[in-house]
């Protein structure tokens, strides 16, 4: 990979992907929890999730928990693969370049 994946490379989207990556395979994270973990505002987080969803990297599920609306986000297979490729790309850069560069 010569260039970083532009979708994942953005800092907030990178954090979203990292937060979802550590969950068990079938698990989704609620929007409010994701907001706290990533440290983004609601609008900002929503916009970045939409970008990731359009790229096919996350799946968004909206339902109700009792009477309260709930949005849950889950990493897709393509997203997991893309994130693994991205972290491998970062490690390759570190391994290839001499320290201090």
């Amino acid at each position: 990979m010569e260039q970083p994946d532009a979708i994942i490379h953005q800092p907030v989207r990178l954090k979203i992907m990292a937060a979802l990556k550590v969950l068990p395979l079938s698990e989704a994270l609620e929007f409010v929890r994701l907001k706290t973990i990533v440290g983004a505002t609601e609008g900002n987080l929503g916009a970045h999730i939409t970008t990731l969803e359009q790229a096919g990297y996350v799946e968004v599920e909206k339902d109700f928990a009792g009477k309260k609306p709930r949005t849950r986000v889950q990493l897709s297979k393509a997203g997991r693969r893309a994130f693994e490729n991205y972290t491998a790309y970062l490690r390759d850069i570190i391994d290839a370049a001499p320290a201090g560069e």
Partner: protein, 185 residues
């Protein structure tokens, strides 16, 4: 434009930090139901130990067995962390069985004459276990363990006549409040 080595290192650091936060948050969510369950068990067990001490000998074993069965049921509904890693739930369950067996063996070995000593010893050991587990899963659980140890010692030294009620409300209450705290992220 390709990234520099420093930019790549910063990105990996951000990833590691976010993964730790997310892992802790997920661990908290999964641990909360156990805290509610065992908080309720402590509340019932210690209350009865204080108010009707003659019932404590049969009640505690029943509560502990019910607690283990309920814990196993809760744990088996939680998804494994990695694909196909169904053994994780079993290992958690087995860890607590080891703690329970250790407590039982110690009581048989030392044969304490005072029920309060037994109650305090069990609470101290559970508190220590939470403190150790918390160091790996997340600080909120460690703080709960340390609070249980401090409150148990405080109650044992200063509230001897009503140590059982103290443990019911403060010990059981600490577990239940910790459960509520873990659900909030």
């Amino acid at each position: 434009m390709p990234l520099s080595r420093n930019e790549a290192a910063d990105a990996l650091r951000d990833i590691a930090q976010t993964e730790r936060r997310s892992s802790s948050a997920y661990g908290y969510k999964e641990t909360a139901p156990f805290m509610f369950l065992w908080g309720a068990i402590w509340f019932i067990g210690y209350s009865v130990s204080d108010l009707r001490p003659e019932q404590a000998n049969w009640l505690w074993p029943v509560l502990v067995v019910l607690g283990f069965v309920a814990s196993f049921a809760i744990g088996s509904r939680q998804p494994p962390k990695a694909k196909g890693d169904a053994s994780e739930g079993w290992r958690h369950f087995a860890s607590w069985v080891v703690v329970a067996l250790f407590i039982t063996a110690t009581i048989i070995l030392f044969q304490p004459s005072d029920g309060r000593q037994v109650g305090a010893f069990v609470a101290l050991l559970i508190g220590a276990a939470y403190a150790v587990v918390g160091l790996w899963v997340g600080m909120r659980i460690a703080i709960s363990g340390i609070a249980i140890i401090a409150l148990t010692i405080g109650g044992f030294v200063f509230l001897k006549p009503h140590f059982g009620l103290w443990m019911a409300f403060v010990g059981g209450g600490t577990l239940i409040l910790t459960g509520a705290w873990l659900r909030r992220v």
